[in-house]
């Protein structure tokens, strides 16, 4: 694989991490990160949608007229999200009940539409797929980190297993705690990028 291909893939990990650097898709990042299980499920679902929609939109870019590209993108994304939603409901009902409304809401996750508009609409199918994989991994990584600290501090548990015998610090379970952890994670990433 050429260097540039690897760059496209790893771009989303840290350098242009959709959540921590571009600060897109904050709603799911804050809402589902109360447990690692939820975060990984959300990450996997979003990654799947990102890869598939990037791939298809890049294939269709010569067919889709410029004037109506956004409705077309939304349509493609919504289709894949509905597919994911149905599959999760059918085969992973536990995940579907804990993620609830956030799976259908992937449709309006700005990461997905953002990548379609900024990348898949201008690049080749292969590059767009790589970009989808990279961005998906970056998103999953980011919400995993946030969920890791929120679950650990908020309920003293990891992966649902109690590891610290205390009740947890309440605020980390609630929305303000999500903002605090999110802020600190962004700060650390910024600091790492500066010192590098």
């Amino acid at each position: 694989m050429e260097m540039s291909k690897i760059k496209i893939l790893t771009n989303g990990f840290i350098k242009e991490n959709p959540t921590l650097v571009l600060v897109l898709g904050t709603c799911p990042s804050l809402a589902v990160t109360t447990s690692i299980f939820n975060a990984l499920g959300m990450g996997a679902a979003t990654t799947f949608v990102l890869i598939m929609s990037n791939m298809l939109i890049s294939m269709l870019k010569s067919v889709i007229p410029d004037k109506i590209r956004i409705p077309c993108y939304i349509l493609v994304i919504a289709t894949f999200v509905t597919i994911v939603d149905l599959i999760i409901q059918a085969y992973v009902p536990a995940l579907s009940s804990s993620l609830g409304v956030f799976i259908p809401l992937i449709v309006v996750n700005c990461i997905v539409l953002g990548r379609a508009e900024a990348f898949a609409g201008k690049n080749s199918v292969f590059d767009s797929t790589l970009d989808g994989i990279g961005m998906g991994i970056g998103f999953t990584l980011a919400i995993f980190i946030i969920a890791f600290f929120r679950e650990l501090l908020g309920s003293g548990a990891l992966f649902g297993q109690n590891i610290i015998p205390f009740d947890g610090i309440l605020i980390f379970v609630l929305a303000p705690g999500a903002f605090i952890v999110f802020g600190f994670t962004i700060a650390v990433v910024k600091w790492l990028q500066k010192t590098k």
Partner: protein
């Protein structure tokens, strides 16, 4: 690539085409997942019924009840063993929850004592309100064996006998509300049924 000038006809055509493809894809996936989804929901329900009716094996008879002043009906699954009433599992809900509504399954024995409760669907705050689930805390265990007729189903703060979950009084109240609704429905049908027989 580059900007293409497209006529209205082309715009309509391409959008229609994409919509059709999307519709076909969704139809295929929907028909594929329809059965597993129904099965998993059915399984969840039958699992909950057998959990809250400990010791009962067999088929249940389903009855829907709408209580006065309620928006939604509750579903009662009557369990008969050797022609006598073993008890009933009641699928009940509350609209006073922190997150709006949640639904639970409550098992009663023939005289109306609570056997067990099971959370069916709830989005209460993790770490707080989600303690209504007995996997997370001992809160629901205090209802075991109690009869809502002589057990005051209100949290202690409201003058009742229920120990509320710390920092989740609303969820605790909602839980009591759901059980009360289940009990009312169960008693109503049981008494009516006896009169008819």
């Amino acid at each position: 690539m580059g900007k293409k000038e497209s006529s209205l006809k082309q715009l309509v055509l391409s959008l229609t085409l994409i919509t059709c493809i999307a519709a076909i894809a969704l139809t295929v996936i929907y028909s594929m997942t329809k059965v597993p989804i129904a099965l998993s929901q059915q399984k969840k329900k039958t699992d909950a019924i057998s959990l809250v009716l400990k010791g009962f094996k067999g088929e249940t008879k389903e009855t829907k009840v709408l209580l006065d002043g309620d928006k939604d009906s509750v579903i009662i699954y009557f369990a008969y063993q050797n022609d006598s009433l073993f008890g009933a599992a009641v699928e009940t809900y509350t609209d006073k929850a922190f997150d709006g509504t949640f639904s639970i399954m409550v098992g009663f024995d023939a005289v109306g004592n609570i056997i067990e409760t099971e959370v069916l669907q709830a989005n209460e705050t993790p770490g707080l309100g989600d303690k209504i689930d007995k996997k997370k805390s001992d809160f629901p265990l205090q209802f075991k064996g109690k009869n809502p007729k002589d057990f005051n189903l209100l949290v202690k703060k409201d003058g009742g006998e229920v120990d509320a979950i710390t920092a989740a009084t609303i969820s605790s109240r909602a839980f009591c509300d759901a059980i009360q609704r289940a009990s009312n429905a169960f008693l109503k049908i049981k008494e009516n049924g006896n009169e008819q027989n």
